[in-house]
Symmetry: none
Subunit: 107 residues, 2 copies
DNA sequence: GGCTTATTCAACCGTTTGGTTGACGATAAC
DNA sequence: GTTATCGTCAACCAAACGGTTGAATAAGCC
């Protein structure tokens, strides 16, 4: 009974996972490198990554012994469209977005 | 440590709550009427409504003995902006885009 | 082969979530 | 004044969440 929107929104509900997505906006990353800035175990990050994967928000590909994490922004489209049904929100303003990210990362 | 985005996305992660928001898109509703189509207790719906309220997604006002629930779509804006940082999903509003360009060129 | 690095697995733990039921305080209706 | 309706509260429950540790698997390095 769990649909994709449940998984996507629930995944986005955690600040660690949103931070991970933001990091992946820069570039693909190995699991260890994703974990680096966080004050929690590698295993915890690994779990967050599987949650993001199940939601379709990232994909993981193993090359050699390192597993690369890649952002899959298309997974956000369905959620975005759903939200858009409640009104159209300001045209994309990347400056605002930058400020949000900075505010979030400061925590 | 919990910020607004956490609350909004977490609130949207439940299908019952998304259905409630959709219902409220039509019109304001009393708690009992919100609960009506769902196969769960009134108390359960009441809890969902307080979660939506804390996320700012709805507001509740008591008139007489009935409590009216009202959609507050503005609460979605911040989340929408965050998501749009990952790509442009919405059909571009060309008028707004024009204005944006003009504003930029004036600087 | 043997060490090191990368990642997950398994078990555990405390907290939160999403639901139930029954009692309760208001307000409205008769 | 009694009764019915609206909604929340409190206690409880099972399951999921977010984290921890330690062992296990897999791949690269010397």
């Amino acid at each position: 009974m769990e649909n994709r929107l449940d998984l996507v929104f629930a995944a986005l509900g955690d600040p660690t996972r949103r931070a991970i997505l933001t990091m992946l906006l820069e570039d693909d990353m190995a699991v260890t490198d994703v974990a680096d800035p966080f004050a929690m175990s590698l295993a915890a990050i690994s779990k967050h990554l599987t949650i993001l994967t199940r939601a379709g928000l990232i994909s993981q590909e193993k090359r050699g012994r390192v597993k690369w994490c890649k952002l899959e922004p298309d997974a956000l489209r369905e959620a975005s469209v759903w939200m858009q049904g409640f009104g159209q929100f300001e045209p994309v303003n990347l400056d605002d977005f930058e400020r949000f990210l900075e505010a979030e990362l400061r925590e």
